[in-house]
């Protein structure tokens, strides 16, 4: 028995994975080129649904990028050894997802060639302009944080950097929630609940992504995650999933309490066709109930169950974002409250949206960028969690 063939096989697999990631990223770039050439007419977006599938992908990646740092914060800020061993991997994933999400957001612009305009003209009343600062700041901070962890001489600054990242990512996800919270005229948005809701959602989504990647890395290195550690992490995931479900439920309950919001809630939760279906089946059942069962049911909660639960949480995230972003725009603006309205511009109508292939290519391109950054980094640097003998802290 020789270890050579296995090693050889793994090397081949690594390059194959990288090539696949590269091909998907290239397909995304092709979509960008087409959208640049023909205009957004080739996307499914229109003057009623102005943000579509690319925004679902981008916002998932950005929110999860912030949430995955929870693992690092529990280690650096709250001093839990099990999490501290995972802080480098969490930081890497954060950088990777942030890069992927921002690329999608940027390349979906009508004029991505004017990125310098966005970088040099700031309107300080715009949440988007704040986010330009928040995202680039997060990028730099997490890189410094990684440096304090991976370079021994910088270790003394680790706690301070960890604290800065901890604060920054709360502000960042608040900024992401505020993009919608400040849209007072839209019935789906304009709620102060959105920033905290996004923060709690980020915890669950980030940890789920972390779990998936960690499981794959352990598998790759033929290691087994200690059951005590798995148990702690899966319980945490369960708590985060419950917390985020609570926030989403609160958002809808408060809406239902306001008479002027009831029509919108009925649309999203009952009458809106694809939107209630995605909400109940995609988000609630697949994204919450099933993962919670896989985590907490006696006899379940083993490594495979936790992996499945994590993947389902990610799936649920996409379903929720689709309902939130696209369903929120599909419901007509209330320009004349108390009146029935109709026009040539879709007033009073539920807007139709059929995402095009190009939008999906762009979205998956963003995922591919995050995947490539993660795969290459894990290969060339040591991101494998190094656990000391387990102590319950």
């Amino acid at each position: 028995m020789s270890s050579y063939p296995r090693m050889y096989f793994k090397n081949r697999l690594y390059w194959a994975l990288l090539a696949t990631g590269g091909a998907v990223a290239l397909a995304g770039l092709y979509a960008v080129h087409m959208m640049e050439h023909y205009g957004h007419i080739i996307s499914g977006m229109n003057n009623q649904i102005v943000w579509g599938i690319p925004h679902v992908f981008a916002i998932f990646l950005i929110v999860a990028a912030s949430g995955v740092l929870n693992v690092a914060s529990i280690g650096s800020v709250f001093g839990k050894a099990v999490y501290k061993a995972r802080a480098p991997l969490a930081s890497l994933l954060s950088i990777a997802m942030l890069a992927g999400g921002l690329t999608v957001l940027m390349l979906d612009l009508g004029r991505p060639d004017r990125i310098m305009v966005a970088a040099t003209n700031f309107n300080f009343t715009s949440v988007f302009a704040w986010n330009v600062v928040l995202y680039s700041g997060m990028f730099s901070l997490v890189i410094v944080y990684l440096w304090t962890m991976m370079e021994r001489r910088m270790n003394p600054y680790n706690k301070a950097a960890g604290l800065a990242v901890f604060v920054w990512r709360f502000v960042l996800t608040t900024g992401t929630g505020l993009i919608f919270a400040f849209l007072t005229a839209r019935q789906a948005y304009g709620s102060a609940l959105l920033p905290p809701m996004f923060i709690v959602l980020s915890f669950a989504w980030g940890l789920a992504v972390f779990h998936v990647v960690q499981t794959v890395i352990y598998l790759w290195n033929e290691k087994t995650l200690a059951p005590e550690i798995l148990n702690r992490k899966k319980n945490l995931l369960g708590v985060f999933v419950l917390g985020s479900l609570y926030m989403v439920a609160t958002y809808h309950f408060t809406n239902m309490y306001f008479a002027h919001q009831q029509a919108f809630e009925l649309f999203i939760l009952r009458d809106g066709g694809i939107y209630p279906n995605l909400f109940w089946w995609g988000y609630v059942v697949l994204g919450n109930v099933l993962p919670l069962a896989l985590i907490f049911m006696p006899g379940l909660g083993k490594s495979r169950c936790v992996m499945a639960a994590s993947l389902l949480v990610v799936l649920g995230a996409f379903a929720l974002l689709y309902v939130f972003i696209i369903g929120g725009q599909a419901f007509p603006l209330s320009i004349f409250p108390g009146y029935e309205v109709s026009s040539s511009f879709g007033d009073g109508q539920i807007a139709a949206y059929t995402p095009s292939l190009y939008e999906f290519l762009l979205g998956f391109g963003g995922l591919a960028i995050a995947f490539i950054i993660t795969t290459v980094s894990v290969r060339v640097l040591n991101f494998m969690p190094q656990d000391k003998p387990y102590i319950s802290d």
Binding site: G39, N46, N47, L109, I179, I335, Y339
Partner: protein, 243 residues
């Protein structure tokens, strides 16, 4: 070095500087003159003025689309009404759910005093001119569409396709957002917006809301007018009568 040598050097230097300054002035002067000719009077919009409109819904007829056609022609819009086509002004038919009363009215950018589109624009491309006209700087817009999300009146359109045959006075651009400009190019020439001029029933009254003697200011004082979604406190420059 003697004093005389020093003086002669100084004189040479002085002459050189004088000649250079003269040559520079000669080189720049024609350019400055041409700039003046090209730009004419560069006086900007005045903040003493607040351009606005008063739309009399009693005079606006259902089925009449003259304001929309005039806008399309003036601004070089295709006039198509698909979900990706630009519509700067549209006719809306409304029916009071409780009383059944029906009305027809034009809807366009309301040129708010506190425009949400300007607040949310990351690059300051959405802007409000001193005289209250809300515009998009087509050279600065990056096409993020955040303003379209923020506008309570759905007044803005995104250019989804390459454009041809544009009106030189009304520049537009693929990948940027656009909306009613209140025909700013006409206003700057002392003309009325195209929709106001085209309305057969004179339902669209245009003028300076700040000028107490203007027809619009007098009418706004005399009759009951409504600002749409007044609850949002945006103080639109477009008002409606008979709503």
């Amino acid at each position: 070095m003697s004093d005389i040598d020093q003086m002669s050097i100084d004189r040479a230097r002085r002459n050189f500087l004088k000649t250079s300054a003269g040559a520079a002035a000669l080189a720049i002067a024609p350019g400055m003159m041409l700039f003046q000719v090209a730009h004419g009077d560069t006086q900007g919009a005045s903040d003493k003025v607040r351009w606005g409109m008063l739309i009399d819904t009693n005079q606006c007829k259902e089925g009449c689309n003259d304001c929309v056609s005039a806008c399309n022609k003036e601004n070089g819009l295709s006039g198509k009404t698909g979900p990706t086509d630009s519509q700067w002004i549209r006719k809306i038919e409304i029916k009071d759910v409780s009383s059944g009363r029906e009305l027809s009215l034009p809807m366009m950018c309301q040129h708010c005093e506190h425009p949400p589109c300007v607040d949310v624009c990351p690059t300051n491309a959405s802007m409000k001119r001193a005289d209250g006209i809300v515009l998009v700087d087509k050279h600065r817009c990056i096409g993020c569409r955040y303003c379209m999300m923020a506008c309570p009146y759905k007044a803005r359109s995104f250019v989804h396709e390459p454009l041809t045959d544009q009106n030189p006075d009304v520049p537009r651009g693929k990948g940027t957002v656009e909306a009613c400009t209140l025909c700013v190019h006409r206003i700057d020439q002392g003309l009325k917006p195209a929709c106001s001029e085209a309305c057969p029933n004179k339902a669209i009254l245009f003028g300076d809301l700040n000028d107490a003697n203007s027809e619009i200011a007098q009418k706004v004082r005399a009759v009951a007018t409504t600002q749409i979604r007044a609850d949002l406190r945006l103080n639109p420059g477009v008002r409606y009568q008979g709503l």
